[in-house]
Point group: C2
Chain length 129, copies 2
């Protein structure tokens, strides 16, 4: 299994907004800005079941996370893989993710029901710069 | 045809690095950092034929450009569409693109042969923030 190189782990360890690409039923990639974190060596994010990207992943688990270093736009990390979806009934994972971004459930304005944990099983990792 | 709203044109008018998502033969999205520009209302970039993303687009023209405002990561522009590929034999387009990024053919270190102009025909535009 490809792993995230130590040189680029910071792009998923800090409070950076990253991009998630999924593929819609029409075949067009959907790309949105998300929060994500490294959980050990796993790349994880939290999604709300009401979102298009969640529906895309249910139908087609192929997904790619892409991070650009905000201080050096030529330093990037791409993780292509398949998404595993699990429930987050007590919001334990969401709380861990929020803490990486300096906030908590009270400070979080997104939906707090119907959250899932998405773990990207990496097939290919490309670290540049 | 959806157009880029005036509120978000700056994300493609300035020298910002943006992301391009294509879909590989294995079905996994590929996301890379690219330079792009607005040419009137058309979203255009320049690609080298040696790149994976060029081969992806030849086989599957579905592509999405995604820009995050570097000064406000919650302000984003997503343009989903299909890619039209044309030759750039005299590098006229490449030179225009480079000038948007403050450089020219002499200062450009990428391949200068086998360049194509990729124009994204927008099917859906999502401007947030």
């Amino acid at each position: 299994v490809p792993t995230i190189p130590a040189s680029h782990r910071d792009l998923l360890d800090g409070p950076h907004v990253v991009s998630l690409a999924t593929v819609g039923a029409d075949g067009l990639p959907q790309v949105t800005a998300i929060w994500a974190m490294l959980d050990g060596d796993a790349v994880r994010t939290s999604l709300y079941r009401g979102r298009q990207k969640y529906r895309n992943l249910l139908a087609n688990p192929n997904a790619t996370l892409f991070a650009i270093d905000p201080t050096n736009q030529y330093r990037t990390l791409e993780v292509r893989g398949t998404a595993d979806i699990a429930d987050d009934p007590d919001l334990g994972f969401l709380q861990r993710l929020l803490s990486c971004y300096g906030t908590d459930l009270e400070g979080f304005h997104g939906p707090k029901d119907d959250r899932v944990v998405v773990t990207l099983d990496p097939a290919r990792v490309v670290a540049l710069g």
